[in-house]
Symmetry: C2
Subunit: 504 residues, 2 copies
Amino acid sequence: MEKKFEELRKRCEDMAALGSAGALLGWDQNTYMPSGGAEARGKTLAVISELAHHQLTCKETGALIADLHDWAQAKGHDSFEGSFLRALKRSYDQEVKIPAELVKELSLATTAAFEAWHKARAASDFAMFAPHLEKVAELNLRKAEALGFKNSPYDALLDLYDAGMAREKLDAIFAELTAGLKPVIKAINERADKVSNAPFKGDFAPETQLKLSLEIAKALGYDLTRGRQDLSAHPFSSGISSPDDARITTRALRDWLPACVYASIHETGHALYEQGFPKEFAFTPLAGAASLGMHESQSRFWENLIGRSRPFAAWALPLYRKHFPGKFDSCTPEDIYRAANRSEASLIRVEADEVTYNLHIALRYEIETQLLDGSLKVKDAPELWNAKMQEYLGVKPAKDSEGILQDVHWGFGMIGYFPSYTVGNLISAQLHAAARKDLPGMDGLIAKGDFAPILAWLRAKVHTQGAKYKPEELLQRAIGEELSVAPFVNYIKTKYSELYGFKA
Amino acid sequence: MEKKFEELRKRCEDMAALGSAGALLGWDQNTYMPSGGAEARGKTLAVISELAHHQLTCKETGALIADLHDWAQAKGHDSFEGSFLRALKRSYDQEVKIPAELVKELSLATTAAFEAWHKARAASDFAMFAPHLEKVAELNLRKAEALGFKNSPYDALLDLYDAGMAREKLDAIFAELTAGLKPVIKAINERADKVSNAPFKGDFAPETQLKLSLEIAKALGYDLTRGRQDLSAHPFSSGISSPDDARITTRALRDWLPACVYASIHETGHALYEQGFPKEFAFTPLAGAASLGMHESQSRFWENLIGRSRPFAAWALPLYRKHFPGKFDSCTPEDIYRAANRSEASLIRVEADEVTYNLHIALRYEIETQLLDGSLKVKDAPELWNAKMQEYLGVKPAKDSEGILQDVHWGFGMIGYFPSYTVGNLISAQLHAAARKDLPGMDGLIAKGDFAPILAWLRAKVHTQGAKYKPEELLQRAIGEELSVAPFVNYIKTKYSELYGFKA
């Protein structure tokens, strides 16, 4: 069996190498690739992912998994071998279930949908995208049927991104979340001018923004011998070969400093997770996140719970002053804290603040679940979108490009992905509350820029587990809790009632 | 058969995608990769090249090649299908002949040799490297035996880098070359102070050097929508996905402008070749150079034959002035021409000028052929090296780090690679002489920076052929000549006798 395990391990190394090559090809595509290389790059990426798919789903891999499963589980649930087989089998089971023909149809439909989405958004014309969204929904339904599910086809899709997640849970989560947040948003809306973000507006040289954000990332614990920061149109992080090569990108807007600083902190949060996987997990199925939601919890933890806290503002102000002499002379730490936390209902998800963000997700969740179960027709989706924006946030898109056409996800063929953003936000608040208990002097640590104990806490609780456990089990092991809404809503209520001066 | 050809084509696309991924992984390793990623990168690269090797040598590929060979050749020697099969079969035949066991031994020995070479060079202690060089020679001999040869095992190795090349030809080439160049070197040596390179010495900001060299590259015809220039310790070019993504790197020394400018022109020459492959060759075995020698001819053509010509100096001087205001005020175009052509026998190959360069190769050729046929013992190699340096160039290394330990090639396990540098130099002079006949106003074109007709000539004669023909056939088709020494020696004699004022 040991010999068979070595054989399987070698196969996983091959998959990991292909995954690493694919990650680098993607990173380069969004950073340094000359524009003329785009078509060839698309083809190369398709081949690499096809080869990886083949390595995973071929009968040799399947036979080894079947042969080794019981032997590995007998080593113990927490053992390297047991977790290795469990994580691998999960991907294997998912991928073998989808027929090659459907994979191909999805790939072709997605390429067409992505192109149509691009044009539709530019023209702000939903009708151009509608037939593609129909096709995407239809193929995702077939995919769900191929994968299998107990209650709802949507569950099968959710499970791809967040193992164990289900519509039943999410219905309850979004109901509680929406009920908890709507009064807060209303109260803030009535006191809009109580909090100003003026300190962050001005003329900030982009090169200096990059230096500043890199200094912050380093202070948080980002190891630049195993990572780097580059510019890209849309910030992202990429575990090119985690834990030893985990990169981030950011962007910089000359007139709005937080775009760079907070994108950078967000992506650093992702990269810290990847850098925290144990070295011995490298090139195995365990060198990954427990789920997309868990990954997002790490970015949100640093971006919002830490990065928009009062002690963080106190620590960061001298840095802002150092990099932008004169610009922050008349600011107090409290001014910075308030500027980092102005909340305003707006149309665009990626620009939304932590109070309103999850309601953007809630309406996407409602639309995509209804599209999948057939209770909503594609042609009626923009109307529902706009009505929900009005209901949840009190704003209404004037055109579809700033409404239903704003996100690429459906154009990428992904249904069931959006909820992981909200799950991440919820977990980040749960982890934060638990960390505060374990580290009573946390505010003091943050105020002096000593982030190491906080990172060490995340490392111990989350990062070093890699993909050993499903997110639910990981959360239970880490802090003894189930996924819950209350810590997040409490955090928002406490913070914003004080900031805006209302009774929560 | 058409269907089988499509099947084979798909297999070649997979290999090309793996090749492209490997190229990007290598490019990144030498440009942006964080240092901590090195070990994982080595592993990833090994897996990717193993997968590519498997795709090429597996029995399915072999069967398709066997089935299609006659059908494809019947389409005509020059046809796409005929050339495709010929090029693929050449690589296939080479790779299947080497037993997996030997591939593995070579890989292990090379890893060890490379590490030993690094340490030996740092310590300038040949004894540390000697046992590894013995092993490399032994394994290369076994490789040659596996590949098969008519006259000399060295021929089998040569053929890997330069199809059709043989020791018999090279013996004659180096004899003629050495005889032709030695008197020139002697004459220059006696008039060393006749030519000054002082204009290129000074304090040149590296960022500005990069801008200048990129402007030159663009002027030569380098398409930056399908390429880019970055910094690396050792300049290189990489066809990441030719013809649509062909990149170069360069380096910059603050006190010596030509290090950047001429490295950049050299690599641009390589990249222009890759950008010139027909679009329909992409992802096929035809998207490659005819040989390493042919590739080198393109870099040398632009670097030396064009870039160190009198009209080029006249065109470049205003650019130097624009980028470095004040620094070239008192220079004439003739000063620049002379500065770009100071020749001086020196110890280090990569810093050698066009007069002395091939003698560095001649002595490496002598040593590696003798190591392979057993007439030279590894322990006696440094002595022969030093004696030959004295004989050919009149200089003698004080230590092995600036002698036999200077180059990485043997440490990389490569024997038979060096001659392609000289072959490239010879071809560049032949192409140049032919181009001058076809383009009578070539000097005038260069002087006004109109390089397009010269590039178009190379495109038509060489680039658009990709890997359709062996180098000998390509040269014959392009200019109706065999590989020959005379054009190069004549070029050197004419140019340097005038520059240094002696009778050639």
